[in-house]
């Protein structure tokens, strides 16, 4: 026993992530730069948009003095700001987050931001500087480090400034080792695609060589806010069940079902308990472990729960998606479609699909696909994604389209629980409910594009047809006049007008 207790020691979450930083996207210097920028931008978007604030985000990446491998990353937003006392915990302790609730958001648990700070600390041994205000009379500037073994923030310095302008927002400045020159294509791609799904945001990026990339806001409406909801019975596992039982105040299973689960009323609860074989008046805290397992099993197998509501989701909506596509891709034609809400395993989701054609969109050998999950672009591991599989399986010729034509397909999935394929969070898994919606969405926009392309082709052909008449009829008139020995060449204008009229019908 003694030996065992010495070998197996508890590790802190900070230590755990330190040891497993690959899974959080910090596997190499290029990827680390990409992930750091991405995580902090997403934190900023989550601090603004859900609060009804039009995001202004400024990102600057610069070389640390004299060292080409060490960068200083500064991300500034105009979000709600973080109450002064919470700043150290919010940034320098793992698993602290205001997001541990059930509604759609970009990240969960605020893991990414803290991971970035952790990575910066272990590669440069420099502290992070966080400046924030919630719009009060004061601005707080913290200098922080993470005590990795103990999963605790260490406050090195704290300064307080006057906030005459009542500025609110957060500025994070972190030192980090990386390789921007290798990361650059992905970073720029990420920013462009972020701008597509966040056309209501101003995003500025200054790279280490001082180049400014500006993505300007073109719409002033924000997507509808997600509403917090209770978990749906189909999406519950045993561990979650334990936690809910631990905090519940309900004395009977009937009340317990009605109180803690999404869309469960009295009648549904009664029918379920009858189906599961549990009396209505049992105290949930009295359930034995094997009964809890049986209870969760029954919830999964009961088919009469109402499907989850999509209130907790915050899709872009067709207007915003269209505006984003128009602004960043500048196509000649765009079609978008928001599918009706659906659910997989008790988790609601909405698929939004867009297709953009022509204009500044280049013709590539293969189809270009942009993938998004909860308004985040996915720029890695495209080939493993369910959308890619679907795009490749579609018979585009059926819609009068072909992979060599200049068009881009966009697929956005919103969900309280995105069905990731791997922990890397870059690929969507092939869930039948999800892939069905994606397929139908792409079909819908492909049909619209097909109709546009064929109409355009028809107009082009009609123009070409008319030009053939315009080219030859005058010559026929000229040569037959000369052949007949006449002077006046007959006017073919009327004949050409008749052709045109005929075309219009």
């Amino acid at each position: 026993m003694k030996i065992i207790s010495r070998t197996f020691q508890e590790i802190s979450p900070a230590d755990f992530f330190y040891r497993n930083r690959d899974i959080a996207g910090f596997s190499n210097p290029a990827r680390a730069i990409f992930s750091a920028i991405r995580e902090l931008i997403e934190n900023s978007l989550d601090a603004t948009e859900p609060a009804g604030i039009l995001p202004d985000i400024y990102v600057r990446l610069s070389f640390m003095n004299g060292d080409q491998n060490i960068y200083v990353l500064r991300v500034e937003d105009n979000g709600l700001g973080i109450p002064a006392d919470y700043v150290p915990l919010a940034f320098c302790q793992f698993l602290f987050s205001s997001k541990y609730k059930l509604k759609q958001s970009r990240g969960t648990f605020g893991l990414g931001g803290t991971m970035t700070i952790l990575y910066g600390q272990i590669t440069t041994n420099k502290p992070v500087k966080v400046t924030s205000s919630t719009g009060t009379s004061k601005i707080y500037e913290y200098t922080l480090m993470i005590d990795i073994e103990r999963n605790r923030p260490v406050v090195l310095d704290r300064k307080i400034y006057n906030n005459r302008e009542r500025w609110h927002g957060t500025i994070v400045e972190v030192s980090i080792e990386g390789d921007y020159s290798k990361a650059m294509p992905k970073v720029l791609e990420y920013l462009k695609q972020t701008a597509i799904v966040n056309p209501y945001a101003n995003i500025m990026f200054v790279d280490p060589r001082g180049r400014l990339y500006k993505f300007e806001r073109t719409v002033k409406t924000l997507p509808s806010k997600p509403r917090e909801t209770l978990p749906h019975p189909h999406g519950i596992d045993v561990e979650t069940m334990y936690r809910i039982i631990r905090v519940t105040r309900c004395k009977t299973l009937l009340d317990f079902m009605r109180e803690h689960f999404h869309r469960v009323g009295k009648r549904t609860a009664q029918r379920f308990l009858k189906f599961a074989g549990f009396p209505e008046d049992i105290n949930p805290k009295k359930l034995k472990p094997d009964e809890i397992v049986r209870f969760v099993q029954a919830m999964k197998n009961f088919n009469d729960f109402l499907p989850p509501d999509a209130d907790c989701l915050s899709p872009l909506g067709e207007k915003i998606l269209k505006a984003g596509i128009l602004k960043e891709l500048e196509p000649e034609f765009v079609a978008v479609s928001q599918r009706k809400p659906s659910a997989y395993a008790g988790h609601p989701f909405i698929i939004e699909v867009g297709i953009a054609y022509g204009g500044k969109i280049p013709a590539r050998e293969d189809i270009t696909l942009y993938r998004f999950a909860n308004k985040i672009p996915l720029v890695y591991d495209e080939s493993g994604d369910v959308s890619w599989k679907i795009v490749k399986s579609i018979n585009w010729r059926k819609y009068g389209l072909a992979p060599g034509m200049p068009f881009t397909v966009l697929v956005h999935i919103c969900s309280t629980k995105v069905p990731w394929k791997t922990v890397g969070k870059e690929m969507i898994a092939d869930r039948p409910e999800v892939s069905r919606e994606i397929l139908n969405g792409i079909r819908e926009v492909a049909r619209k594009l097909g109709a546009y392309v064929s109409k355009k082709e028809k107009i082009r052909r009609e123009k070409a047809r008319l030009s053939v008449f315009a080219k030859y009829l005058p010559k026929i008139a000229e040569f037959s006049t000369r052949l007949a020995g006449k002077k006046k060449v007959p006017d073919v204008g009327e004949l050409l007008r008749r052709i045109r009229k005929f075309e219009k019908e």
């Binding site: 053939v468 030859y472 026929i476 040569f479 037959s480 052949l483």
Partner: protein, 364 residues
Amino acid sequence: MKKSRGLTTARRKRKEVLVKLERFGHELYEQLEKGLFPQITMPSRSTDNIYYNPELRQYVLGDKKVKRSTRNIRHLRPFTQLVWMAFFTHELTSNQKTSTLRDVFYSAQAYDISFKDQNESDNIITDLETVLGCTREDFNVFPEESSAVFGDLTIEYTVPNYEGKHLNLTSHPDGVMIGPALTSAEFVKTSADKVIAIEKGGLFTRFIEERVHEKFNAILVFLRGQAPRSTRYFIRRLNQELGLPVYIFTDADPWGMHIAMVIISGSANAAHIRELTTPDAKWAGVWASDIINYKLPNDKLKDVDIKRLHELMRDPRYKGELWQREINVFLKFKRKCELEAFSRYGLTHIVDKYLPERLKEMED
């Protein structure tokens, strides 16, 4: 000595063609004046509209017509090309200039009329022949290849700068080229009483050297393989205008036979044209039976030769007794030979022995 029966043939023909071309122009002009999309109707040249006419002893077009309308976008380009072609050949003919098929193809570019290739322009020329019912030589378009004639025939030129000039066709020992000028010339007089047409150049020269034209009182025509249309037309005129019988000598093989046949009965390709054939001309040799009778050096027939013979056997033009007989001899012995094969028995053997025997046989 015979006097030409049709002194004004060439001039009359020229006038006729000009009138036809102008009428074509008027027809289109009037449609345009009425605000109509111009259209024309002409006999179809598709294979299902080509028939053999036993009376005329040539292929002719049936009753099937095709309509070409400028309302139809697919017709528009060839229609324009056709109208231009009519205009251009009218210019040629009225100015008494000539052109070749190749030359026409390039001339079009000066008028911003495009032809993909010469094949396309040749096709339009054939269309114009069909519309007008006359040959391209009538509107002064000639092919590149040319054959020759030699013998006591005096002609009078009608082409500019030579108009009224006379030439006796024995003037040049190589023969006189059957080109545009000779084709449009008038026949003045001749002492010949027959025409001998020869497939091969070597033998044509030998015949001149051996004075065949004097010994046999003949006009010699060098066909140069499959005879060009102008040559076929020339032979026809010799036959029709001067009343001279025509004897054709070719290699003894199915291809040689067919060279003779095209002169006699024409080709399916020229079914839209009359007055190009010489139905009374005779294939005088070399026959398959001559190979045996004259013990000529020979070769084995190849598979393509035998295939061709079977085709000819079913061809309505080959119904005649002589043709069927010779085809059967070919198929029986499976042998062929060339005109030059007579040289095995000395250079003059063909003239001294074969020719008198054959001509006598034919005249009987």
